[in-house]
């Protein structure tokens, strides 16, 4: 266990940047999002939840897959760049850290997504324990311990210090590189902090939410439930929930004509959108009810069916915070358990 005083954080960031780039929560006009750090930026490690999750670091909202243009009547293709420099994502919460694992299942299993893989290989995750969980949090539902994220490096703020603990080889390497700035610390303060966090987690309004009844086995029964027809109605079909979500991984591939050529890029897509998975004949899902159902079925049924029971919701509560009409995954879970109670 190491520590560094809060006042020296900027030095720490600068030191990280000597051999890697640094992505961490920055404040812009009152809103905090993960972004590339440079000296003078307003770092915000107090805000519990960035608006967008940290997934951009490994799966950016858009990225170029390849460029093509005509040269002497022939098509020339140049592939998009894979990440080839080390970077550090700092201040990731336990939920977002689990989110990366959800993405790993999808992008690192065959066929491997080489863009994602390159980023994962070059990125070191420094997580930050949640000092003050909020009422919208429910990570414990998915067995996540916000007091001990388990990333390459875990950190805790206690009093005026940031406590630092490396968990992996990558984490150790980073720690070694920063050893000049880090001093040794005992774990007592951190243990107290962990206890404190865990006790708050128990008091959260969503503390009792369980995923009982969900998972791959529930497919038919959940899919056919008449509840969806009631639940989806206020949905505006915007993509807020999917774009702030740390685990939504759907993307669309589009072409952009630059005049002299075409840039093929991918960008996040949202299953809430009417043109999601649009094909020549039209859409698989023609109504918003179907689209709405898809999102939750994916998180709570299809994904666990494919990946050994792991849910693709991490309980970060961003959708609870941000849905324009007050809808969220917890309401869905609750509605089903209420129905089943009857």
């Amino acid at each position: 266990m190491k520590k560094i005083s809060k006042e020296n954080l900027t030095k720490l960031f600068a030191a990280i940047c000597e051999e890697a780039s640094l992505i961490l929560p920055l404040k812009n006009n009152g809103m905090t999002n993960f972004a590339l750090w440079s000296e003078g930026d307003e770092v915000d490690l107090d805000t519990l939840k960035t608006v967008k999750s940290a997934k951009d670091a490994f799966f950016p909202q858009s990225e170029t897959l390849y460029n093509c243009h005509r040269e002497d009547g022939k098509l020339k293709i140049s592939p998009g760049e894979r990440m080839d420099e080390n970077f550090v994502v700092f201040g990731v919460r336990a939920c977002d850290k689990r989110g990366f694992e959800v993405l790993d299942n999808v992008f690192l299993s065959d066929p491997v997504d080489s863009f994602y893989k390159a980023r994962r290989e070059h990125g070191t995750v420094v997580a930050l324990a949640c000092h003050a969980p909020e009422e919208t949090c429910f990570c414990s539902t998915f067995g996540i311990d916000s007091a001990e994220p388990g990333a390459d490096v875990d950190t805790w703020f206690v009093e005026g210090d940031l406590y630092w603990k490396a968990n992996t080889e990558k984490g150790e390497k980073l720690t070694a590189r920063l050893s000049d700035l880090l001093s040794d610390a005992d774990e007592k303060a951190v243990e107290e902090e962990k206890e404190n966090i865990r006790s708050i987690m128990k008091k959260l309004p969503y503390a009792g939410i369980t995923t009982e009844g969900w998972g791959g086995e529930a497919e038919k029964e959940k899919f056919d439930s008449p509840l969806w027809e009631e639940l989806y109605k206020p949905c505006l079909a915007c993509g807020t929930c999917t774009f702030v979500c740390p685990t939504c991984q759907c993307y669309d591939i589009k072409d952009y004509s630059t005049g002299e050529g075409v840039q093929r890029y991918r960008c996040w897509d949202s299953c809430m959108y009417s043109d999601f998975t649009m094909m020549a004949h039209g859409n698989n899902r023609t109504s918003q009810m179907q689209r709405y159902r898809q999102r939750f079925m994916h998180k709570l049924v299809y994904y666990p069916a494919n990946y050994g029971g792991m849910f693709s919701c991490v309980g970060c509560g961003r959708c609870v915070d941000k849905c324009p009409t007050g809808l969220n995954i917890v309401k869905v879970i609750k509605a089903f358990s209420k129905k089943e109670d009857k």
């Binding site: 809103m31 608006v51 969980p133 909020e134 919208t136 915007c238 959108y273």
Partner: protein, 324 residues
């Protein structure tokens, strides 16, 4: 609130309406959701409090396609949107039974969090018609207090007024919440140098994640298929790959709703990144009022909007700039 439920039950019972469009209790202190209630029993979950900011008029597009009338609760500002939708034949008057509900200004959890309150468990005093001046908030981290005005939505500080523009009946009195000039920020930006203007909007718009919440909540953006989702202009976009795209999206969106936007403020309310989107709409409203005479979209369902009308001696674009 009980009065609304009572009236809804009566209208359901006597067959005037087949369903009720209102707000349903949330699972937290502050997240009620728009909801259709098909029967008396369902109305037990009905709520109308200070967090019921959502403008229900756009849901009437779908409700107009259904059998029978829908009772819809509209706040004064929502009635402008309803009128505008009526003008554009997107909703049917005969399918709506409008109960105009009183409003004392709406608040949001977002604003409370901005005011430094986190871990909200209970909010006391958020009564829709008669809220307390100071809200008592029970949180995970102790009891807090916050002034109602401080957590009120921006749009309520520049409220269009207490009058409903269209209704079948009114329940509950509205409260005056106006204490600002809605064009103040617009003027402030107008006075900036082009460089400052550009920097300001660049910084605001750079946060846009193209979630389309602003568009999808907007009662004026009622297109079956938005140009940004269709291939008609080769303009289908899903992400802001380049900073130009967010400008394109927001400029065109503002232009498409010009003369139709009632300034209901929903776009700014729902933006997850808190981008002051109303600043685009208000600029256009301000220009149209100045150049073509005062016009309030949705004040009635007949008057032609400024972009579907003209006079022979309208201002020239160059003159408009000189006035700039």
């Amino acid at each position: 609130m009980q009065e609304l439920v009572k009236r809804a039950k009566e209208l359901l019972a006597d067959g005037t309406v087949t369903r009720v469009l209102g707000w349903k209790k949330g699972d937290l202190a502050y997240n009620p959701e728009p909801a259709f209630f098909e029967n008396e029993e369902a109305l037990s979950e009905f709520v109308y409090d200070s967090f019921c900011g959502a403008n229900l008029s756009k849901y009437m597009i779908e409700a107009s396609k259904k059998e029978g009338k829908t009772l819809v609760f509209l706040k004064p500002c929502d009635t402008y949107s309803f009128n505008q939708l009526l003008k554009e034949h997107r909703v049917l008057r005969e399918k709506a039974y409008i109960v105009g509900v009183g409003c004392a200004g709406k608040i949001s959890a977002e604003k409370m969090k901005e005011a430094g309150i986190s871990g909200i468990l209970e909010v006391e005093g958020a009564d829709a018609l008669n809220p307390s001046e100071t809200l008592k908030v029970k949180t995970l981290y102790g009891d807090k207090e916050v002034s109602y005005k401080d957590v009120m939505l921006e749009r309520c500080h520049v409220c269009k007024g207490k009058d409903h523009m269209i209704y079948d009946e009114i329940i509950g009195e509205s409260r005056d919440t106006l204490d600002g000039d809605r064009m103040e920020k617009v003027r402030e930006i107008e006075a900036m140098s082009p460089e400052e203007k550009f920097a300001f909007f660049q910084s605001e718009l750079s946060r846009c994640i193209r979630c389309n919440a602003c568009r999808n909540v907007c009662p004026a953006c009622s297109c079956r298929k938005c140009v940004f989702d269709s291939t008609k202009f080769d303009s289908a976009q899903k992400a802001n790959v380049d900073s130009f795209e967010e400008k394109m999206f927001h400029v065109i969106r503002a232009f498409h709703v010009a003369g139709r936007c009632t300034d209901c403020g929903e776009c700014s309310r729902v933006c997850p990144q808190n981008i002051p989107l109303h600043l685009f709409n208000r600029k256009l409203i301000s220009d149209m009022n100045e150049f073509y005479g005062e016009y309030q979209a949705g004040a009635d369902a007949e008057t032609k909007g400024p972009l579907t009308a003209f006079t022979q001696d309208d201002i020239e674009p160059s003159e408009a700039r000189e006035r700039g």
